[in-house]
C-alpha cells in the first residue's frame, strides 16, 4: 500500500510487537478511562465497574462553593495567561526566526528555560520574590508565573509554524510599501494563525493544569483548582475528585482536538 513500511516482514511476524505496543498504549490510556467511568459511580466505595450509577459526584462538585470558586480562579488565570503569553511568545518566535541577532542560541535557551529548570525551584523562587513585592495570593502573580511557564510552548509552536513559512512574502509586502507592522499583520500572521491559536491553547492548558508553582503562590481567595485538588488528595481520596478529573480530561481532549484541527489547516 504505502512505501514507508514495505519491508519484507509480514504483519504476522510482527504480531508480538503489536501486542507489546498495544499493552503499553493500554497502560497509558487506562487510568483516564477508569477515572471517567468511576466518576459516574453511585457509591462512596471505589469499585470498578461501579455497581450503581449516578451523577452525585458531579452534583457535589458543582454544588460546592469552594470547588466552584477554585475552578473560576483557574479559568480566569488560564485565559489571562493565554492572552498574555501568546503575543509575547509570537513576537519572540518571530525575532528568533529572523536569526540575524547574535546570541540567538542563548536567547532561545533562556526563553525555554522553564521547561528544564526543576519546577519546584521556580516555585520557591517565585514565592520568595512575590513575598517581597506582595504578589503572593494574587491573580496578577499567578498570571505572571504561569505566563513564564507557558511562554516556551508558544515560542516553540509558533517557531515550527514559521519554519514552514516563506519570509520572503513579508519582504515583498514591505518592498511594495507596506510598513513593518501592516506587513506582519496582513501577510504573515494570517498564514501563522493556526500555529498561534495552537500556541494559545497550549498556554491555556499549561496554566490550567499547573500544580507546583500554584501550591506556593496561590491561596485564600485565589486558590487554584489544582491546589485545592492537591490538598484534598493529601488528606483522603474523595470521589468528587473523580468528577473534577473527568472534566479536566474532557477539557484536554477538547483543546487538543481544537489544536489538531487548527494544525491541519496549515
Amino acid at each position: 500500500m504505502s512505501t514507508e513500511s514495505s519491508l519484507p516482514i509480514s504483519h504476522w511476524q510482527r504480531l508480538w510487537l503489536y501486542l507489546l505496543g498495544g499493552l503499553v498504549m493500554l497502560f497509558l490510556i487506562a487510568p483516564s478511562v477508569i477515572i471517567v467511568i468511576m466518576s459516574f459511580s453511585g457509591s462512596t466505595l471505589l469499585q470498578f465497574p461501579p455497581q450503581q450509577w449516578s451523577l452525585r459526584w458531579y452534583e457535589s462538585y458543582f454544588g460546592s462553593v469552594e470547588w466552584r470558586d477554585a475552578t473560576i480562579v483557574s479559568i480566569k488565570v488560564a485565559v489571562m495567561t493565554a492572552i498574555v503569553a501568546t503575543p509575547l511568545g509570537t513576537a519572540a518566535a518571530y525575532a528568533i526566526n529572523a536569526g540575524t541577532l547574535r546570541l540567538t542560541g542563548a536567547i532561545n535557551a533562556l526563553l525555554t528555560a522553564s521547561l528544564i529548570i526543576p519546577v519546584i525551584l521556580i516555585g520557591i523562587g517565585t514565592f520568595f520574590l512575590y513575598a517581597r513585592i506582595g504578589l503572593n495570593n494574587t491573580l496578577t502573580g499567578l498570571v505572571i508565573a504561569h505566563t513564564v511557564q507557558a511562554l516556551p510552548l508558544v515560542v516553540l509552536t509558533v517557531l515550527s509554524g514559521l519554519r514552514s513559512y516563506d519570509m520572503n512574502q513579508e519582504m515583498v509586502a514591505r518592498s511594495l510599501g507596506a510598513g513593518r507592522f501592516p506587513a506582519f499583520f496582513q501577510v504573515t500572521m494570517p498564514q501563522l494563525r493556526f500555529s498561534i491559536v495552537s500556541g494559545a491553547l497550549f498556554a491555556f492548558i499549561t496554566s490550567f493544569d499547573e500544580v507546583v508553582v500554584s501550591l506556593f503562590i496561590s491561596g485564600g481567595e485565589t486558590t487554584t483548582l489544582t491546589r485545592r485538588m492537591f490538598n484534598a488528595l493529601r488528606d483522603q481520596i474523595d470521589p468528587t475528585i473523580a468528577a473534577i478529573s473527568t472534566c479536566l480530561i474532557v477539557l484536554s481532549i477538547v483543546l487538543l482536538s481544537a489544536a489538531q484541527l487548527f494544525g491541519r489547516g496549515r
Binding site: 514507508e4 513500511s5 514495505s6 519491508l7 519484507p8 510487537l17 503489536y18 507489546l20 505496543g21 503499553v24 498504549m25 497502560f27 497509558l28 490510556i29 487510568p31 483516564s32 477515572i35 471505589l46 469499585q47 470498578f48 509575547l88 513576537a91 519572540a92 529572523a98 540575524t100 526563553l111 525555554t112 528555560a113 528544564i116 529548570i117 526543576p118 519546577v119 519546584i120 525551584l121 521556580i122 520557591i124 523562587g125 517565585t126 514565592f127 520568595f128 520574590l129 513564564v148 511562554l151 510552548l153 515560542v155 516553540l156 509552536t157 517557531l159 513593518r180 490550567f208 500544580v211 507546583v212 485538588m229 492537591f230 488528595l233 493529601r234 478529573s245 479536566l248 484536554s252 487538543l256
Partner: protein, 307 residues
C-alpha cells in the same frame, strides 16, 4: 567606510559601498526592532526565573545566624537523612527511566513501522496523557493501586491473593505513577527520530541476507540511538526534580529531592537549606543536559516541539 564593507560587496559595485552607512543603519534598526520584540518575554523570564534563583543562590551561602558559610552545603554530606533522600531520588530516577525505555522503545518502534494513518491514531494514546494534568493521572493511580484499590480488590475477588498487596504509598507506587507520566517524554522524541530512519537502509540489509532480528540489531537500533538518548536524558532530568507524584503516592516513605526542598522552605522555613538543595538540583540538571548536548550536539528540549 571600512575595507570590510568593500570586501563584502562581491561585484565590487561602488554604489553599494556608498550605501554602506545607510545599510548598516538599517541593519541596526532591524536588530533593535527584533530585540524590542524579544524584550517583554526575556524580561519576564529574567524577573521570574533568573532573579529569584540568583537570590536563592545568594541565600544558600549564609547559615541560620547570618554568617557567610558553606554549612548549608556541608549538611548534604553529614546528615544521613539528606544522603538517603539523594539515594532515593536517583533510585527512583533510574527505575523510572529504565521502565520508560523498556515500555517506550517497543511502542515508538511500533508507531514508526505502522502506516501513517494508523500511527497517527495510535499517537493519540501518547499525546492525550501527555496533555492530561499530572494531578489527574496521579489520582487515577492512587485509585487503582491503593490498599483497597482496583488491582487489590480484583486480585482478592479472583482469589489470587489473600492480603492486599502494598502497591501505593511506597517505592513501587511512585515508580509506576511516574513511569506513566514520563513515558510520553521518551516516546515522542524517540518516535520522531525513528521516523527519519531511511527504510532503504533496512531493505538493503535484508537484501544482503540479514535476518529481521539482525537488521534491527545492526542497523535500526544504532540509528535510533540519538533519539533514545535525548528521551532518556529528558526523562532522567525531569525525574530528579519531580514533586507531585512522589508527594502524593510516596506515603511519606519515599522522600525525593523536590519534597525535601518543599519541606525545608514550607515546613521549617529554612530558606538557606532549601535554596542550597535547589541550587545543587539545578546544577546537576544543567550538568546532565550540558553533557548530553556536548556529546551529541543536540538539545534535549525537542520533545515539546515534536508533538
Amino acid at each position: 567606510m571600512s575595507i570590510g564593507s568593500v570586501s563584502l560587496d562581491r561585484a565590487g559595485r561602488p554604489d553599494a559601498v556608498l550605501n554602506a552607512d545607510a545599510l548598516r543603519a538599517d541593519a541596526r534598526r532591524q536588530a533593535l526592532g527584533l530585540l524590542a520584540l524579544l524584550s517583554p518575554g526575556l524580561f519576564l523570564v529574567f524577573a521570574v526565573i533568573i532573579v529569584p534563583i540568583g537570590w536563592l543562590f545568594w541565600l544558600s551561602l549564609f547559615d541560620q545566624t547570618g554568617q557567610l558559610s558553606l554549612a548549608n552545603y556541608a549538611r548534604f554530606f553529614e546528615q544521613a537523612s539528606y544522603i538517603r533522600t539523594f539515594a532515593t531520588t536517583f533510585k527512583v530516577a533510574f527505575a523510572v527511566t529504565g521502565a520508560s525505555v523498556l515500555f517506550g522503545y517497543p511502542l515508538a518502534y511500533m508507531l514508526s513501522q505502522l502506516p501513517r494513518r494508523a500511527a497517527s491514531i495510535c499517537l493519540i494514546f501518547v499525546i492525550l496523557p501527555f496533555w492530561t494534568s499530572v494531578l489527574v493521572r496521579t489520582y487515577a493511580w492512587l485509585v487503582i493501586l491503593q490498599r483497597r484499590g482496583l488491582v487489590n480488590s480484583w486480585l482478592i475477588d479472583l482469589g489470587v491473593i489473600g492480603q492486599p498487596l502494598p502497591l501505593a504509598n511506597n517505592f513501587a507506587g511512585v515508580v509506576i505513577g511516574m513511569t506513566h507520566i514520563m513515558l510520553p517524554f521518551l516516546v515522542l522524541p524517540l518516535y520522531a527520530s525513528m521516523k527519519t530512519i531511511d527504510v532503504d537502509c533496512l531493505r538493503a540489509g535484508m537484501n544482503l541476507g540479514a535476518s529481521p532480528a539482525a537488521t534491527f540489531r545492526q542497523i535500526f537500533f544504532p540509528l535510533s540511538q540519538p533519539g533514545l538518548a535525548s528521551g532518556v536524558v529528558i526523562v532522567f532530568v525531569l525525574c530528579l526534580g519531580f514533586f507531585v507524584t512522589p508527594a502524593l503516592m510516596g506515603g511519606g516513605k519515599v522522600i525525593m529531592w523536590a519534597m525535601r526542598i518543599e519541606q525545608a522552605t514550607s515546613l521549617y522555613s529554612n530558606w538557606g537549606a532549601g535554596a542550597a538543595l535547589g541550587v545543587v538540583l539545578l546544577a546537576v540538571t544543567l550538568a546532565l543536559l550540558g553533557l548530553f548536548q556536548w556529546l551529541l550536539g543536540a538539545r534535549a528540549t525537542g520533545v515539546w516541539s515534536s508533538r
